[in-house]
Symmetry: C2
Subunit: 404 residues, 2 copies
Amino acid sequence: MPPMATVSHALRFAQRTARMRASTIREMLKVTQQPNVISFGGGLPAPELFPTDAIADATRAVMNEYGPLALQYSVTEGTPEMRRWVAQRLGHRFDMDLSPSNVMILNGSQQGLDLIAKIFIDPGDQIVLESPSYLGAIQAFDAYQARYLTVETDDEGMIPESLEHVLEHADPFPKFVYLGPTFQNPTGRTLSRERRERIVAICEKFELPILEDDPYGELRFEGDDLPSLLSLARKATVIYLGTGSKIVAPGMRVAWVVTKSADVLEKIALAKQAADLQANSLTQYVFHRYATSDQFDEHVRTIVRTYRERRDVMLDALAEHMPASTRFNRPSGGMFLWVSLPGIDTEELLPVCAEQRVFFVPGVFFYPNDDVHDGMRLNFSNAGNEKIRLGIARLAEAVRGFRK
Amino acid sequence: MPPMATVSHALRFAQRTARMRASTIREMLKVTQQPNVISFGGGLPAPELFPTDAIADATRAVMNEYGPLALQYSVTEGTPEMRRWVAQRLGHRFDMDLSPSNVMILNGSQQGLDLIAKIFIDPGDQIVLESPSYLGAIQAFDAYQARYLTVETDDEGMIPESLEHVLEHADPFPKFVYLGPTFQNPTGRTLSRERRERIVAICEKFELPILEDDPYGELRFEGDDLPSLLSLARKATVIYLGTGSKIVAPGMRVAWVVTKSADVLEKIALAKQAADLQANSLTQYVFHRYATSDQFDEHVRTIVRTYRERRDVMLDALAEHMPASTRFNRPSGGMFLWVSLPGIDTEELLPVCAEQRVFFVPGVFFYPNDDVHDGMRLNFSNAGNEKIRLGIARLAEAVRGFRK
């Protein structure tokens, strides 16, 4: 009650996906409920860096300055203050002209994935994804019964020739390509500058809209900023997703979608109005207050410095403890790195890791179509240096135990 | 770009609905952009009653007590504190056993309408609605291409015989009945106690799930609380929606869905995870802190006292100014009342009201299937007493001008 027959096709599809992973989810729960477990599994920011005092101060300041306006209903597109801040910050970062009318505020960037799926996808439609790709996006698209065309990747991200090949043979032609060009979730990889230009050119040639997901772009540890696909496009429709979750706090659910296509933005607004009316008025005002304060830039620098150190600690520990056959990358920003264990099914490794009280996400979940079983995603932002060292030592112990 | 052909069927359907109303929306914008306009159109709470200082204090207290936890990702179902508070408050109000596991926290109750539509509705499925019914619900269901079966109503709400008749002849059988039994939006009507029991019995006989929308139930001006359909059901699946928007503040986006069906709640959680991961952590904690403070009960009493007075002022002004043929009801709570102007198309009245700088929502929008043109919804919560008197005088002036 209600029986399955009363449930819509969309959710049945999502449930099928979910059931496939039930045994692994049980393992995950088993692990995370143990005391002293060290998790590299989630995508959580470092909580000790959250600006708790500053957020309380900002709330008081917002109440003094805006009063009831910050607690009342507001427009679906977001507060004028937040839209202007996003347009200015991204315009400056990517050296491009953006106006507040190119920006809409979302209840977290997951909502962007959902609403964009809602306006583009009919059951059976195809979407182009990197292989591997972000699990949350796959879940959002699954709910609309999308099918996937996957493009090969290497250490420089999506391979343009593979994208071109996929598009030449696609039938039906896909609705859009989804990719995370900068410090991608799950791999931490970054699309090179040359490839950015080539991928935008290919999408312009094929008239394929681009969904660019950029939650981690401000967390660069070294090297120069690269242009966003949004800023490189001349004719292509690029829909860009950004978020405050990684530079302020995810619990405030302030994120944004940016596009030069007024048509797409209007459709997203229409879909959002039916879905939840508007983003949170209060946390939009509080976020804006904090993000325009003197403390903000230094706060972001502290996050970058801390995560860079944690990445280095994790890389050193991997080199020290893991078997020689282990491969891993060195992301120049973000929150994740990718480990390959040739010959090991990392899903089968989980129960052994449960015994060692360490946790990761098996790579197979990030492949929408392919069975690639030797990868794992490791998060380096959440745990402190000591926990990272201990956790990687446990992981290496689990791998040795598993090989026997 | 993208051309219409790339947009999903669901959104095209929603757009069709939206376009039908484009001319009226233009009139609405014309009116609300004028200076000194008095609007009875929106559904806004009285902003001067928002507890701005208390919310700033509560945020500081939450940061002191919970710290980073209130800014981190949290679970899709909502914080344990909020789920417990909702279970206790509703359990007490309706004299029933509820546990936190019956509760999920939403990003506004519009999200409940969207997610419930998502899990129940396939294109072409039928939903049973009151006639008239809440516009936001119709918009949410439209996005999933629902069709509607409408049930007749009178001053005591939905007529049980009409519901029974509709269900006996329904083909295909509907997925659920949606209704607002208490101070309904748009009419302000309340379903009588006897009818509540009969409607639950009919739904149990036909095994039809009930979606009970109760945003205004705490705003009772006189008379005794009536049992919720949730508390009356023995076998029926009842999905109950409540919100903090009318008792604290809508900008905080804290609302809840409550059901004894673990199956339904699990499906809503699955759909919510793909849609936006979770409700706002920060405003859940802040809401909880305020709602458990000494000030809260008195705050709700102040809202009730203020809205009761405004309703009375509006009723007196209607009696004084409007033509003798005007009919209107006297809601015993909530934020809206319903006016009928026999022989007048209230949509055509809007341009005349624009000249008079007064605004309302034409009743026709609330009828999903029927062409009933002589109604209007008036909100009495947002404007103060003087503005209500002046606005109703203007409205009466517009009606007299229109009749000529």
